[in-house]
Symmetry: C2
Subunit: 376 residues, 2 copies
């Protein structure tokens, strides 16, 4: 095997001059190479150091030199190259938002919060969609490591199984080693003592509020249109629903405690089936506004009035909740705040030590017109 010569102090022999790019002739029609700090220095008749200092403004430069530099910068349309700047240590990494899909009404608000907070702190935001593909998520985390992202935000519901734990632990360690902070938004922490920030909201409490509102309005039999069992937010909301039933001494009817997906179609189908099966209920608590939308449609088709015959509460407070007929009583989730908080926490501890950090944001019941008080 060839020995790797450890001697780094050899004379600078005049070796070949590789230089992978050649300066195009500018006349030739091909794109001109953008000008560099050296071009500016040459044109202004000063050294590159002076140009750099003029632009950074962190070191005294004579008015004469400054003026000539500025003129050269303007005439050459010079802009600093971030990569070079970053390499010499002067650029803070971007914030990366890794999300299932940006178009969902709630996720879009998380994204907006992230972008705002990042921009307020002078950072750029990268957004990447996973479309629920774990392989893609792996690839994106790896990519963000290369990008030296200051924070990597993994957003959105997840089934907290063994595979999730394993992957997330790997992410946390890998990102930490690369100087990035992993932030889980609306996801559970897979293990204690991981270098990770967790920002979540109170699914269980929100569901408790919603269900309690129905019970306090006199309803006794509340159809629950829950999300997938196994999905963290789904389980939490279900738990909140059951907490409320228990707390108010209402019976827990198994046939009213349904599960499905967070889609309009699922809400529609389950409500339709419940009505057809002749189930006895005077209220519906849908685990998301989309599900509530489906429920409203199914109830309307069945000739039932909302809130006249059946009261409905949703979860999320999507923007159009106020525009439905009737406007939807629902649980407001501070999505934008969620995004802002995630970025804030990650960047605040950017240069400090690892370790866990956990924040849970509260939810708020928004009372509109889809619930009627019933008296017995």
């Amino acid at each position: 095997m060839t020995e790797n010569n450890g001697n780094s102090e050899r004379p600078t022999a005049r070796a070949g001059r590789p230089g992978q790019r050649k300066r195009a002739d500018a006349q030739h029609g091909a794109k001109e190479r953008p000008s560099t700090i050296r071009d500016v220095a040459r044109k202004a008749g000063v050294s590159v150091a002076t140009v750099s200092r003029t632009l950074a403004g962190n070191y005294p430069v004579s008015d004469e030199a400054r003026a000539r530099v500025m003129a050269a910068v303007a005439s050459l349309h010079y802009v600093v190259n971030v990569h070079a700047k970053a390499l010499s240590g002067q650029v803070a990494g971007p914030v990366a938002l890794v999300i299932k899909d940006i178009t969902g009404p709630s996720l879009a608000h998380v994204a907006a919060g992230v972008e705002q907070e990042a921009a307020d702190r002078g950072r750029l935001s990268l957004v990447c969609a996973t479309h629920d593909d774990a392989t893609r998520e792996d690839a994106l985390v790896q990519l963000m490591r290369e990008q030296h992202a200051a924070a990597v935000l993994l957003v959105g519901g997840v089934v907290p199984d063994a595979a999730y734990e394993r992957r997330t632990i790997g992410y946390a360690k890998a990102l930490d080693a690369a100087g990035s902070r992993l932030v889980l938004v609306g996801r559970p922490a897979p293990a204690p003592d991981l270098p990770v920030t967790v920002v979540d909201y109170d699914n269980r409490g929100g569901a408790f509020q919603a269900t309690s509102h129905l019970l306090a309005s006199g309803h006794r039999r509340v159809l629950f249109l829950g999300g997938e069992t196994g999905l963290s937010s789904g389980d939490e909301r279900r738990a909140g629903y059951r907490d409320a039933l228990r707390a108010h001494g209402a019976g827990q009817a198994e046939e009213l405690d349904t599960e499905g997906t967070y889609t309009r179609a699922s809400g529609y189908a389950r409500t339709r089936d419940a009505v057809r099966a002749g189930l006895d209920f005077t209220a519906v608590f849908a685990a998301s506004d989309m599900v509530a939308l489906g429920a409203l449609a199914a109830l309307r088709e069945a000739g039932l009035d909302v809130p006249g015959d059946v009261s409905v509460v949703g979860f999320d407070d999507v923007p159009f909740a106020t525009d439905l007929t009737p406007s939807l009583t629902t649980v407001r989730v501070p999505y934008e705040e969620l995004g802002r908080t995630a970025v804030r926490l990650a960047l605040e501890r950017e240069r400090s030590l690892g370790g866990e950090e956990h924040v849970v944001l509260g939810t708020q019941l928004v009372i509109r017109q889809s619930v009627r008080r019933v008296d017995w």
Copy 2:
């Protein structure tokens, strides 16, 4: 004045060794510096060139060396530094989406299209919100120049006045000089022969379709809830409305041709006022679904049934259009396709010459339940 010495061939004198960062002691609690290709080379007992070649896989490397490199990479958690890679010319720039606000239902879909197409082509997407602030837009374009973005997408409605033209021309030239491509999405090109790509959709044709549908359904007096005069999309849609009236030989009643903002509130107020003023109309064409939403609410409050008493058509086909009561007949705009096309066009001509390029995407009338045929 000091002469800038042009002679670059002087012997490499051993000058002071600045070195702005020192390698932390790793034990010390402070973040470890991420490992570099040199660390890997040292650990694997090979040269940096071999490590680079192993990872790039574009040059023969012995199995023995490859194995040792891979082992070192794994044990050091090495990831390549993009900035260094970019500096040596190996990284393609990101796609930058500069947008008023991501949370709007239509803009979110544009963003999703952009992200998808960019990801399909192995690019990252930066998103930045301007919140309609021209100063911020200027700053962002400048920033994207520094970032060496491959494409900068400026999205969304705009008042095409002199200031807009001046700024956009400046953007186009500056970005072109930096090797980036400016793409205007849903905005008019400010001048011919600019290095710019324009992707728009057929506002006028869509409005024509919508209005024609109402006229063909027997309606004669159509209240138009237009957008701001001066805003490009607003003027276009208004023109389409008038085209249709002319084409069908329907009279143009000035009091039915209103203008306002693209908001629910504006739609609500204008419809309420029209009803109160006793205006004679049997149909409403709202220049956006949000406006239609307001109109529906105002009509309902006035005790008018949709589509029984008044028919309504919107514009945009936002996701919830199908969930309204009645579901909304509207003009579908291919927002996602808009985003995809913008990225595709920009990247396809990435290395080719400047010059203009213009694409207009079609719209499609989606017939649902908010329009009733009337016979006389």
